[in-house]
Symmetry: C2
Subunit: 403 residues, 2 copies
């Protein structure tokens, strides 16, 4: 007998019909002789609707009370899913985050899981119950409710899988798995059978919104085998694990990330400590910097260019302007940019991946502004309007349709 | 410094504007130097909407999962009210039923409060917080959520007031207090300044839907002084306590209850044990019988007539028909009836109350079908279409407008 953890997002349980669909997936898994723990998010737009309600009353509400409000969303969805499973005639029990043993720190709205106390979960599984757990939520040492932040239900599912040593953690979404590129945009984008944790992490970071990053990190740390699959079409999905079969592919995927702003500091004095000051300041404000490029000094001055999330662009400019007493001509922010990346563990042993990418971009006339590489990824920053064309060209170069 | 418990129903917190209104009532009470604990129900139609959602998925959902679903309603309203109070700049914390210490039995959907463990409540009050508590809910020994049944938020408020020895428990509603009759229907209906627990209990039982009966019983038992008042108009309400000032009134109120059916068993053999069988059967099925009238035997037969809640009428007929093997002519159910009552602790020392009531009904041509009396109440069963006219006539007889 296996223990399977299944996670369903908000769109998978958006209405009564979809809740019944999930109930049938869950009970089919149970019928096959498995123990099943199910993690669910709030239905459809419930969380957004609740945030809207809160804003109407107090846009500056405390995070504690926001968490009290939002955790009601999953509470409703676990109860409804349990009722659907009762209707199908199977033994079931729903548990809130705290009932399922989720102990977190007190960082309301972005809490970290400290432990999952599995006594209750185990007791319910011993009773042969299908156990429905509210994702995204836990309880802190003051016995107050907390939330894990957006995408936290993935993390809840992986944490349960890790704590119970589950055989597999299935993350159901509205896509059929992880693709080599966005299948709605790139002709010939292929679903991957397997992918490594590291590759998945790079893809997630680069804007493929299939899995929450923290959940992949946790899966890697505790060696939880993940499967990303569709709640609407019952076909095998993509397995995420430590070592993936190569499938004769050099790269796993090509991604586009438009949530980028490029900040350039121009012609500042070439004295020691500037970079330290700049990036120290940004780090102190919690702004993550991605690609960094520093020009060679000339005439006693140099340029520093870096990328941040688009929302952080203006704030970064303001911070650095004040820090270095710059004028408007010395620092600019460009949000008309996008990052295109190829990801694949295979590329580190294959020389020429970078040049193959640059060639593909050159052939379709895309200008490269910045380049960053790691062991399993090459990213380029380009004009945003070129991005879709760039992804198509790079995908065609590495993953030709007929292969 | 006093400790005040305030309870607001669903209509008082139905939208953002009303939530802000409640926040201002609460903070005004706090500003006057009082400790304040606030009990709130779910917003507006939330509970009904959730029940609808559940029915769509599974009309026979377990009560445990229904309670899991419904308790989310108050969770949302306490968070929103806390946010509104934060906006006004006062220290506040919201607590779920279980966080506020509500321990109940495991009778899901109709749980009884076993204890209120007040440690957390006291801690928050010591910190000078306004404490917002989710009404209607608690937790059982399995650490599962329970609800107290409809109107349970009143009971939650009284239980907190009793446990903390509060100076007063204010129940805010959409009426200004307890009236001698329904003020929307009876010209000259007057708001009472004070009323006893027993009178309030009779009025509640008789259809004046101001206070939940269990909450009044609990208030009487623990001697909690209640005040029924309006959340929309800031004027003094009606105080409910052990001994009320008489206000020169013989009766406290005149009520109409249309939730009645009259069942008549006609010409059955006048043998011993019939009444025992009939009412034993109904009791076993959980059907409450109100007024009972048995005719004197004649020709070896007798008639038995009684009233039940309207919903129980047909079931009662079916049960007794089978029990006594009756035909359709021997048992009839009439739902075209209503019960009109006068209530007042004063009447037991004033002879002639009954005859004054009957005279008033006679003068407006209302026929009396059945009569029941207790120490503080006289009820008559009449045709439903006569009921409003009857209430007006009786009210005028006992509580003339110019008094």
């Amino acid at each position: 007998m296996s223990l399977i953890v299944q996670k369903f997002g908000g769109s998978s349980v958006a209405d009564a019909e979809r809740v019944m669909n999930v109930a049938s997936i869950v009970t089919d898994t149970y019928k096959q002789g498995n123990n099943v723990v199910v993690v669910v998010s709030a239905q459809g737009d419930t969380t957004d609707d609740l945030i809207e309600k809160a804003k109407e009353i107090n846009p500056k509400a405390s995070k504690r009370e926001m968490d009290m409000l939002l955790t009601a969303g999953e509470q409703m969805s676990i109860a409804l899913l349990a009722m659907a499973i009762e209707k199908l005639g199977y033994p079931v029990v729903s548990l809130l985050g705290w009932q399922a043993g989720f102990k977190t720190n007190s960082n309301y709205s972005m809490a970290r899981i400290k432990a999952v106390k599995t006594e209750r979960l185990k007791k319910e599984l011993d009773k042969k119950n299908i156990v429905i757990v509210a994702g995204f939520q836990g309880i802190n040492k003051y016995e107050d409710l907390t939330t894990l932040g957006r995408g936290g239900s993935d993390t809840s599912a992986v944490a349960i899988a890790a704590s119970l040593h589950a055989d597999r953690c299935q993350i159901f979404t509205d896509v059929e798995g992880v693709y080599t590129a966005d299948p709605r945009k790139i002709k010939g984008a292929k679903k991957l059978q397997e992918i490594t944790y590291d590759e998945m992490l790079e893809l997630a970071t680069l804007g493929a919104q299939v899995l929450n990053n923290r959940s992949v990190e946790m899966a890697k740390k505790y060696n939880v085998e993940l499967e990303v699959l569709s709640s609407l079409k019952r076909v095998p999905g993509t397995i995420v694990k430590e070592v993936a079969t190569v499938e004769k592919m050099l790269v796993r995927g090509v991604t586009k990330d438009s949530d980028v702003a490029r900040v350039s500091i121009i012609a500042i004095p070439d004295v020691p400590g500037i970079a330290f000051k700049v990036f120290g300041k940004l780090a102190a404000k919690g702004i993550n910097v991605d690609i960094i490029l520093q020009s060679v000094g000339r005439d006693g001055t140099k340029d520093i260019t870096f990328t941040v999330a688009r929302d952080n662009g203006e704030e970064s400019v303001a911070l650095i302007k004040e820090l270095l007493s710059l004028n408007d001509n010395q620092i600019v922010c460009d949000t008309n940019v996008a990052k295109v990346s190829v990801v694949g563990a295979g590329m580190e042993t294959h020389p020429g991946t970078a040049s193959k990418m640059f060639e593909a971009l050159f052939e379709v006339g895309v200008n490269i502004q910045m380049i960053a590489t790691s062991e399993i990824k090459i990213s380029v920053l380009i004009n945003e309007e070129d991005a879709d064309r760039a992804v198509a060209a790079v995908h065609k170069a590495f993953l030709p349709e007929d292969e």
